[in-house]
Amino acid sequence: MSSETPDKPAPVLTVLRPGHTYASVTDQISAAVLTTHTPRWWLAAVGISLSIVMIFTTAVAWLLIKGVGIWGINVPVAWGFAIVNFVWWIGIGHAGTLISAILLLLRQDWRTSINRFAEAMTLFAVACAGVFPLLHLGRIWKFYYLMPYPNRMSLWPQWRSPLVWDVFAVSTYATVSFLFWYVGLIPDLATLRDRAKNWWGKHIYGLLAMGWRGSARHWSRYTMAYLLLAGLATPLVVSVHTIVSFDFAVSQVPGWHSTIFPPYFVAGAIFSGFAMVITLAIPLRSLYGLQDFITMRHLDNMAKVMLATGLIVAYGYMTEIFIAWYSDNKYESYVIFGNRMTGPYAPTFWALMLCNIAIPQLLWLKKVRHNIPVLFAIAIVVNIGMWLERFVIVITSLHRDYLPSSWGMYYPTIWDWATYIGTMGLFTFLLLLFIRSLPMISIFEMRELVHEQAGEHPKEGHGHGPAQTHPTPTVE
């Protein structure tokens, strides 16, 4: 700490490019929303995503008319794309909560410029996830049977079933994620209210801001509420994917009945979620010129989190394989060695190993983490890999029952694909609406960051002076 830090003369990676003021961060972030000029690419993207939403609504309408028979599911594979996609989407959502809650509790200042759109990503991913179990019911209009409600048959849900736990976990997760996101938005909505030029802007943002005026008393309770929400969301996010894994692990199906499932599902969720945050952050920062706010440091850190959680996931796969061999249980070892690795779905298994274990190892190299196109490509590969993981878990464990007479194959139909791709369109569409109408970066937290950075760069030098009170924002 004396004069010059000797360890790294390498270019300093900051969380916010120096030279920004309260006014500049406020104006730049709110300008993307308050402008009357809607970018061309945005209109084009909305057009494309809305067309995909049309495919989705068509697929859902046909499902309502004909029933789940239009999908590829049948005995023995009764859980097809619906469950694969449900787990995939809900896992993607987890990175948003991790960034906004866990990194807040750990006081990681690099979360600030990515938490807002990561939380929005969580909300939309959970919305897409929630669609699938409902559609899978077959009779969607009876969905309320899942909830405890007074009825003349005096029937209750079966509390001992992980599928009922899942209903509570996912609906709690969706509600708490929404509350967390909205609370974070309130001060920024006040900023938009004060900066909006036209009547509609003033009134809509004004209503949503609920009269926020930045009072010190309000801030005091607000930061307390935000901290408590973060503390509540942290165990919640772990519980959600744990309970999702219980859907599999509590059953007695070989390939599912395993105690490694909860931790490796949670790690896999964060792995895929960070991949999705990177997939979204890279185009957003260049389209909106946000390189000052979403810096290389953010991408570098997210790549590192992706690498770390990817290694946990790899450990989970290895444990599964090891236990299948070591347990000497013939059903377990058949599922892994006789079917997953060498059976008819073996290509998906090996593609999964390639996408989730082999390719992410490139992230050990700093050059790769700092090469934006390569990082983007790896994030896409991980997204695909995590989808394949759920496909392998669901399909290969089910399609060969104990007796060869009840073996079968699962082939997704065009309606499976239409529904799956349709939710991607829905996700993109909601995200586009969000970035056009709400600040995609938390403005007040950026102002706070400006304040903190100003505090640690006293007039004498560049943060090497003894007056330094805050941890330096430079990496390593």
């Binding site: 509390w159 736990w165 709690t172 009269g211 005026r213 930045g214 607000y222 969301a233």
Partner: protein, 179 residues
């Protein structure tokens, strides 16, 4: 109806977080009690400087969590043991370990609801009208500037003396807040 004054208070404007904390501290030391400070982001020490020390929000959240826990667990025990017991493979009706995941979820749900709605209720939000918005420059409170408002309900408030007091805190501007 204590409609005794036409003004809500006097408001001083500052351009730095440190300045408004110092000003609030001096107003507090000078014996003013009814005041509030406004800032574009949470400023450390500002709430303490205006004499606000503790929020009861954690207790409300704890209460919400305990309510959610008892309500969730109680619902399952009531339905599975008393209201409609179902014998499935001879398993006990009161199979409490299986009730824990849902109990956890209802606990978190109610605690989070208590945190958000408790915070809004204690803050008196939503609030459609507040006099501070009558000051034209107050729109900077959500962007760059910091404000300290000494309210007319303060026993020590005097339009002239308080204005003079605020002037010596070297603000950018002192304005009268219409009620």
């Amino acid at each position: 109806m204590k409609r005794k004054v036409e003004t809500y208070g006097l408001m001083a404007e500052f351009d730095s977080a440190d300045a408004v904390v110092v000003a609030a501290q001096r107003a507090n030391d000078a014996g003013y009690t009814c005041m509030d400070a406004y800032s574009p982001f949470p400023v450390h020490g500002l709430a303490e400087a205006i004499g606000f020390h503790k929020t009861h929000l954690p207790l409300i959240v704890l209460g919400g969590g305990i309510f959610g826990m008892i309500a969730g667990f109680g619902m399952m025990v009531y339905s599975a043991v008393f209201h409609y017991p179902l014998n499935i493979g001879g398993r006990p009706f009161y199979s409490w370990p299986a009730f824990i995941p849902i109990t956890f979820e209802t606990t978190v749900l109610c605690a989070a609801g208590a945190a958000v709605f408790g915070m809004l209720a204690l803050n008196g939000l939503p609030q459609p009208y507040h006099p501070v918005f009558n000051v034209p420059r107050f729109e900077l409170a959500s962007r760059t500037h910091f404000f300290l408002c000494i309210e007319a309900t303060d026993p020590k408030f005097d339009p002239e003396a308080t204005k003079a007091f605020l002037q010596q805190l070297t603000p950018l501007e002192v304005s009268v807040v219409a009620a």
